[in-house]
Symmetry: C2
Subunit: 130 residues, 2 copies
DNA sequence: ACGGACGTTGACGTTAACGTAAAGTAAGCC
DNA sequence: GGCTTACTTTACGTTAACGTCAACGTCCGT
């Protein structure tokens, strides 16, 4: 049980280079165990990497992704910390909701353009076949 | 009629520096008219700038944003171009839909964490006031 | 005619996110 | 032992997206 992965294995799975994975470690986004000198990744590390990739697709900087991921891990015991924490989460949520709106708008416009284009296309082809 | 804007004006409105706006011009994202040496921006340029900012919020590179914007402007008269064009649009749509999914997931998780946190918070405060 | 606001074009600096090359280590196979 | 394969650290290179001067033009109010 408790499967582990090598660095190249993960690199293949997520389609990044090993350099990239090590770079993320350097930035504190991952901290795999070591067996001698080599890195050993647990399923938990793998999840983190998945989260990193999702963050990247959302256009977050690595520093922000780190904060995001920490949100899942940290257990803020003090009330003050808890408040601060909640605030961070709400900031993130707000940002994401803005993004959601942006995407919706853009998708609508793309949709419009696509319809227009395919209309033009079928128009041209009618002409051609007439 | 037909209002125009100065570079600093737009910079203020979109909260970027004039350097940034000129940089976008350099990259072919904007091409304002000139009055002598100075740049004159039309409402149309302003719309483009708005699109650029939205693209940035969505995590696109400037080069991609340029392609995106061009989608609104270009009128592909040839059928081959039209097809190519449609394909591009569909690629973009697909990417955006992935992003949409990513955001939805992330938002759900944030939501969960937030609920948990605010539960913990009110719990702590009950204890405190008892 | 002068200062100040606003604008211009270079040109070099900076940060993030890796790429790439060099040189060495460790394990397994034949 | 020698080869291969996978991995390591160290270090310099690169690209995108600007920031930051420097040095100069132009218009406007006083």
């Amino acid at each position: 049980m408790s499967e582990t992965y090598g660095i190249a294995e993960l690199a293949r799975e997520f389609d990044v280079t090993t350099r990239t994975i090590r770079f993320y470690e350097d930035k504190g986004l991952l901290s795999p165990a070591r067996k001698g000198q080599r890195r050993i990744y647990t399923p938990r590390d793998r999840v983190r990497l998945r989260l990193i990739m999702r963050g990247k697709r959302l256009g977050f900087a690595l520093s922000e992704i780190r904060e995001l991921i920490d949100l899942y891990d940290v257990d803020p015991s003090e009330v003050t910390q808890l408040r601060h924490f909640l605030e961070k989460i709400r900031e993130r949520k707000a940002a994401l909701e803005v993004q959601q709106g942006d995407i919706a708008e853009t998708l609508e416009e793309m949709q419009r353009i696509e319809s227009q284009c395919s209309a033009m296309l079928s128009e041209k082809q009618k002409t051609k076949s007439s």
